[in-house]
């Protein structure tokens, strides 16, 4: 078999090369983004750059505008300001934003298998009219293997558990081979093992130069697992930068109110809030 033969392509898809990404260009440039529902602004004043391979945690209380920000970035909401998406990552990826919503608004009785759902993410690469080609099938397979759902590819989407379905939708976003990936609360309803799996996938994506924006409310975890953090409150960006720079008492107070404290004890970040349910520790 030659280097460009089907078998070689198949092997590449199965074992993605761990190329260290030289290119650290901007893949997502946002300027003065404002968006909302029914004419009412829910978020405004968002200006930031995302570089290839960056993993950014979007942190804020409920109703801060995390989901609204994602929906605006992906084109689900009418918005003002500019969003520039560039395909600047190392591997073959498309100038496109892939999005995994917090709640999939789908009909669980829809006649589609796991395979069908992930293949839907390839629609742009397949193009109109044409049927899926070999490379699309390989991409779907690779995406399903990465999230550990290959064995269940023939299972109807309605017969999966919530966590399994979440992984299928992550696989679909991977199959899109977008340059930016948005994950809205991917860890809600997912057990710790699956959480680890998702972080493993994210590590591979970082090497491939795919930028990942991930909404979370786990402050302690956010402090250790992300390159940069964005604090959001009341529809505005409070701070954006490396965790140690922006986790200041002032920023946290502005984001969550006065009632939260976070400090580092050796290897651990400790978060303490008024309400006991917010107290959590995390080991990096």
């Amino acid at each position: 078999m030659t280097g460009n033969g089907l078998w070689a392509r198949f092997r590449r898809a199965e074992n993605p090369p761990s190329v260290q990404c030289e290119q650290r260009g901007v893949v997502l440039a946002v300027r003065g983004l404002a968006a909302g529902y029914n004419g009412q602004r829910a978020i405004e004043g968002f200006t930031f750059d995302v570089h290839a391979g960056e993993r950014i945690g979007i942190v804020g209380p409920n109703g801060a505008g995390k989901s609204t920000l994602f929906k605006a970035l992906v084109g689900l909401l009418p918005h003002q300001g500019t969003i520039s998406i560039l395909g600047a990552s190392c591997r073959e990826s498309h100038a496109m934003v892939a999005y995994v919503p917090q709640h999939e608004e789908i009909d669980l009785n829809f006649p589609a298998t796991v395979w069908d759902v992930v293949m839907m993410g390839r629609a742009r690469q397949i193009g109109y009219i044409l049927p899926p080609r070999k490379r699309d099938r390989l991409a779907v397979r690779a995406a399903l293997e990465r999230v550990g759902m290959w064995a269940l590819r023939k299972r109807p989407i309605g017969q999966l558990s919530g966590g399994q379905r979440r992984r299928v939708f992550v696989a679909r976003a991977l199959a899109q081979q977008a340059s930016v990936l948005l994950l809205d609360e991917p860890f809600s309803g997912v057990d710790t093992t699956a959480e680890g799996d998702i972080f493993q996938v994210l590590d591979v994506l970082r090497e491939e130069g795919v930028a990942v924006l991930l909404a979370t409310h786990n402050l302690a975890q956010a402090a250790t697992h992300y390159d940069k953090l964005m604090l959001i409150s009341g529809g505005r960006m409070i701070a954006f930068g490396a965790p140690e720079q922006i986790y200041t008492p002032e920023n946290l107070a502005r984001t969550f109110g006065e009632r939260i404290a976070l400090w580092r004890e050796g290897e651990q970040y400790v978060v303490v809030a008024d309400r006991p349910c917010h107290a959590e520790t995390h080991t990096p």
Binding site: D107, N109, F110, Y128, I129
Partner: protein
């Protein structure tokens, strides 16, 4: 040798059966009018089975029913103009159907009006307008019942050409944009993320449903149209878990119901539309019943019903 002798002895019995088969199945088709009607019924069964798949998975049964009623003004207008020529009805229905479909698509674009509310308002008004127009004609009741309940035996060669042509066009469009229709039906958020022209495909689908309804007008008529769109696809959804096989099964069931219903109609002297619809309903009830019995049987044997359901469906 004994085999041959038995075959000869059974010959009389066998040929009697052949004759009966001939009288039942072949004889009706010797009349060109009936053969045409049969062809029309099969085309209608396949096309409405395919398009009906989207109607069922998108939960558009009410839309289908209402759109069928909304084409009445167009049909009535053409009926008053064309002196007994039925292909005029087709064009009248087509114009009214496509306009109504686009109208409802436009009204529900921004979700300011709930979709079922908009459908109820627009389509009841259109139906009333159609009845009002027909009521000015002399033999009002008879004409209205032909349009409402279908008059398959009136399929002219020109009608058949229109039915075949537009039916084929619908199938081609579905085949070309199957993937896109599937995505906008399953996950609107993904469709928008992929920057597909969602509105365009949604309107195209509504137009396809309108064309299917007009194609089926002569077979089952306005009032029973929704059964042809929904029942075969609903039956198919019971036996398969993927969209494309569901579409195939639905098309097959639609065609089978059309053929069987057509023969029952011919031999039992029942109106064709109801015969086809009742046959399709029988398919549905039989499939549903078999699955219920199987899951009950599995329940007695201590197997969870979900396992059996998975096993009885094909991949």
């Amino acid at each position: 040798m004994i085999g041959w002798a038995m075959w000869l002895a059974a010959g009389g019995w066998w040929s009697a059966w052949l004759e009966r088969l001939d009288a039942w199945l072949i004889a009706p088709l010797r009349y060109p009018l009936l053969a045409r009607s049969m062809e029309a019924a099969v085309i209608v069964g396949v096309v409405s089975g395919v398009v009906g798949t989207f109607v069922v998975v998108r939960g558009m049964a009410f839309f289908g029913d209402a759109l069928a009623h909304a084409i009445l003004p167009g049909v009535a207008f053409a009926y008053q103009r064309a002196e007994g020529k039925t292909d005029g009805l087709f064009w009248g229905g087509l114009v009214a159907g496509v306009l109504s479909a686009l109208g409802i698509g436009w009204l529900t674009r921004h979700e300011r009006v709930r979709e079922d509310t908009a459908i109820g308002v627009v389509f009841a008004a259109m139906f009333a307008l159609g009845i009002a127009m027909i009521s000015r004609v002399n033999n009002y009741a008879g004409d209205l019942s032909h349009i409402l309940f279908g008059q398959i035996l009136g399929v002219s060669p020109a009608d058949l050409r229109l039915i075949a042509g537009f039916g084929a066009a619908v199938l081609v469009v579905v085949a070309l944009f199957f993937k896109e229709f599937m995505i906008i039906s399953f996950d609107l958020a993904l469709a928008r993320t992929l920057r597909l022209p969602v509105e365009l495909f949604r309107l195209l689908l509504l137009v396809l449903i309108a064309v299917t309804i007009v194609v089926s007008l002569q077979t089952v008529g306005i009032a029973l149209m929704v059964a042809l769109l929904v029942t075969p696809a609903a039956t198919a959804s019971l036996v398969t878990h993927r969209l494309l096989p569901m579409m195939g099964v639905s098309a097959f069931l639609g065609a089978a119901a059309s053929v069987i219903g057509f023969y029952i109609s011919f031999h039992q002297d029942i109106a064709t539309g109801p015969a086809i619809v009742l046959t399709a309903t029988a398919f549905f009830l039989a499939t549903f019943g078999v699955q219920q019995v199987r899951s009950m049987w599995a329940g007695w044997r201590g197997v969870s019903s979900a396992t059996v359901e998975a096993a009885t469906r094909t991949e």
